[in-house]
Amino acid sequence: MAENLSTSEFFKALEGRGIVVTPEDRERIERRFNERLNYVPKIGVFGKTGVGKSSLCNAVFGQDVCGVSDIDACTRNPQEVLISIGGNGLKLVDIPGVGESLEREEEYEALYRQLLPEMDIVLWVLKADDRAYSTDERHYKELVQPIIKKSLNKQLKTDSPFFVVLNQVDKVDPFREWDLANAGPGPQQAKNIEQKRASVANFFDIPLATVIPVSADQGYGLVSLVDSLVFAVPAERKHILLEATRKERQSETARKAAKSGWWEGALEVAKKVLKAVIVPAAVTWFKRRFGF
């Protein structure tokens, strides 16, 4: 945990506002803090084989997910569609292709039903220079979307825990236009990427802002992606989520939001434990001090 998010600063601040916290209450507050800090953000990463789920996770979270190969599929055994990585709660779900039996489909539905409600965020990874999305359509519209609509939005009280990550945008035609020096698309490429975003948003029936163009290989768009993730989760989870990402992907804005979100959550805990004896003046002070 970052130094500026220490509980002692929190109690000092409370005392400064004339609020005396008994040792018992202090212990209870600290225990609840720790429970929150031990929370593991769960991020579901869905996508067809070869769209770059592993590379994306490596680039964003710095986890060596599995040997990323240009040739072989990472998950060879169709039974092992789920890979759990370390203690970080990252889950990669490989979408199988077409032509599987209905029985398999039921298996997937059961798997999704079990997995999705636990997720803080679901990322659906597509390859930007592909437009054969029928496999994605079938899995998303028939199996995933109904569950997300029912449970995820309600549980998280947020509109957009679901993002489509348009990966490998550096390979959108004309791909030789990609600006290697500045790690960004060329003019015609940029236009095609924007068009692609719009058509994907339309296809998935989601807001344009939730279709995020990135190139995990080229390190493009990843800061914006992390920004979007941080803003999508509830205030008290922003900090934990940001901590799970690589330092170089964290923007100043995201850091600020994470910090104020953490204090906001801390104050909520204190309010509950101290049975609302925190005077309004203290709340105002916290809000001004930490910007929420």
Partner: protein, 239 residues
């Protein structure tokens, strides 16, 4: 003409005769010699009683994988519309070359599958109808991907019979996008790319068990395009 061919948008290459095509790819000359054989598909004219003979080269595969671009690259002109973003081939399109007075060579470009479930059903049915008229079925897929499940399902159902399977040429496009990617505008793949391409060809061969060669190429750079043409013509004169 057969009813399933009526919805095809046809481009007759006026001012671009067959001999120009044969000059670009000398392999096509073998068709002139083959015009005397009886292995051409005979179409009865609707109005007159004339008979035309056709060798149909049918291009099928997933949307956006370069069917139209491949035909354009072979023909050497941007006749068929292509797009970097959206599916644009909604109907069958055909470019016809007159090989001799009554013999025609048609490049027929089909709408791609894999875009949406509803469209796939209709497109696959159209594919199925046209397969028997085709001399060569060019199944276009791309080298720079790992997920071949859609291809596998489609080819398994379409090419189930032996007389269809022997007409299929697997065209493995977009080799210029193979990893490790090079953005310099060389037309030939690097040595490292070559290794990835060779491995991919071997994988496809093992997985799809094709009767004919699996040809890696790039429509954009033109790399190995002549080998694709060779493979097509070899099947065309056999049928």
């Amino acid at each position: 003409m057969h009813k399933s061919r009526q919805s095809t948008v046809r481009y007759s290459m006026r001012g671009f005769p067959f001999r120009d095509l044969a000059q670009r790819h000398s392999a096509f000359n073998r068709l002139t010699a083959a015009a005397k054989s009886e292995d051409w598909h005979a179409w009865e004219g609707v109005e007159s009683s004339t008979i035309t003979y056709e060798k149909l080269l049918l291009f099928i595969g997933q949307t956006g994988y370069g069917k139209s671009s491949t035909v354009n690259a072979i023909v050497g002109a941007d006749v068929l519309q292509t797009s970097a973003v959206d599916a644009c081939t909604r109907h069958a399109q055909s470019i016809d070359f007159q090989v001799s007075r009554s013999h025609w060579l048609s490049f027929t470009d089909m709408p791609g599958i894999g875009e949406s479930l509803a469209r796939d059903k209709a497109y696959l049915r159209t594919y199925q109808e046209l397969l028997r008229y085709a001399s060569v079925i060019v199944y276009v897929t791309r080298a720079d991907k790992r997920d071949f499940a859609v291809d596998e399902a489609a080819t398994r159902s379409l090419f189930a019979t032996a007389d269809v399977a022997r007409k299929v040429v697997y065209a493995l496009g977009q080799c210029d996008k193979m990893e490790p990617l090079s953005r310099s505008s060389t037309t030939v793949p690097s040595r490292a790319q070559r290794r990835s391409i060779d491995e991919k060809v071997a994988q496809i061969a093992a997985r799809f068990e094709p009767e004919n060669a699996v040809v890696p190429y790039s429509a954009v750079t033109g790399w190995n395009l002549h080998r694709l043409v060779d493979a097509m013509v070899r099947v065309a004169v056999k049928t």
